[in-house]
Amino acid sequence: MTRKGFLKWLIAGFGALSLAGVLYPIARFLKPPASVAGAIGQVTKVGDVASFPAGQLTPVVVNGQPAAVQNVGGKIAVYSLICTHLGCVVGISGDTFKCPCHGSDFSATGTVTHGPATLPLPTYHSQVQNGSVLVGPVDLSNAKYPAWYVGEFAG
């Protein structure tokens, strides 16, 4: 291989690499995010009732978002784990919620017991069918949730 030929290939190679470096993010950008692709009317099976111990909160993922399943004597409730203050992921502490970012606490029913958050954690529509827990859309009917918070679930 001549020196000139080698340099030609080198330049073409770097050119192709640069092009790939631009085209790859563009291709990824054009692929719709998963939660947008199938958000409407989507029901997620998060597990069997038996896999959620009574009196506890068990973390699960619903539509790519963190949530927790609560089992109180066979009665299932699913809470979002996105803090209503600034959107951090809330931690589970026993049967209550504790946000590590700014110290908001939420009771076992999702209500605020300690600020700075002012709005309760929203629940997901859920039901038990044939022993499995099915989770539907999040309930954001409380009009006080700000646009950015609603956007967290919009995908």
């Binding site: 950008f29 692929k31 939660s35 609603v150 956007g151 919009a154």
Partner: protein
């Protein structure tokens, strides 16, 4: 030079002496643009113009190309209605993969293009490059500068947040203060007396359809003229 003789089929035109290889050269040859391209390749940049201050127009054009590409991509997710505009921009920035990247490039290139078109205009002014025979190129340049500002003004409303709303309110109020024509300009820009869904629709229309068509036409004229005139002489 025709060499046709009676009773014989005309000979094919002689092939160009040395046809260059490669697909690009083949296309150029078939379009009959050999001489034109040869002329373009052989332009010599005058020594006084091998200076960074002569680069601003070119950089502004590169930014325009980047803005066109990222803008087309953003339009794949953006929704120009008051109910969904802000949410769709938020979606681009927080959920779409590389969305924050594409949107940031668009945003920063937009600011950069305004700056560079302005500096390029200053360079042309202070080197006297607007003088005869280049007056028409100066005029297209002034229009290009105004179109660039128009892109900035219309694009600013699209995220539909508080800053966008009030910037547009103030901007269109200024248009409304023009004597005689003011009220006409204001309602034409806003699509009504108040800023509304119609305003967002019109600004989106201007930003992605009207202004791009105008700027491409003006850029072609701008570049064609710089090729006709060549780079202006030294000071």
């Amino acid at each position: 030079m025709s060499t046709t003789t009676q009773g014989r089929a005309p000979e094919p035109a002689p092939a160009p002496a040395a046809e260059k290889k490669g697909l690009v050269n083949w296309v150029i040859g078939r379009l009959g643009l050999n001489a034109t391209m040869e002329d373009q390749y052989n332009r010599i940049v005058p020594k006084h113009a091998t200076n960074y201050i002569y680069c601003f127009g070119g950089i502004a054009f590169v930014l325009f190309v980047i803005l066109a590409i990222t803008g087309i991509l953003l339009a794949a997710y953006y929704q120009p209605t008051p109910d969904t505009a802000y949410q769709s921009v938020l979606n681009i920035s927080t959920h779409v993969q590389f969305g924050w990247w594409i949107r940031s490039i668009h945003r920063w290139s937009a600011g950069g293009m305004v700056l560079l078109v302005f500096i390029h205009t200053l360079r042309v002014f202070f080197t006297g490059a607007y003088k005869a025979p280049r007056e028409l190129n100066w005029l297209t340049g002034v229009l290009l500068f105004l179109i660039t500002l128009g892109f900035g003004f219309t694009g600013y409303l699209l995220p539909w947040d508080q800053k966008a709303y009030w910037a547009t309110k103030v901007g269109t109020d200024i248009a409304g203060s023009v004597p005689v024509l003011g009220h006409f300009l204001l309602v034409t820009l806003r699509g009504g007396e108040q800023i509304s869904a119609a305003t967002l629709g019109r600004f989106f229309d201007l930003h992605v359809l009207v202004l791009p068509a105008i700027i491409v036409a003006l850029l072609l004229g701008h570049f064609w003229m710089i090729r006709r005139h060549g780079i202006s002489g030294r000071l």
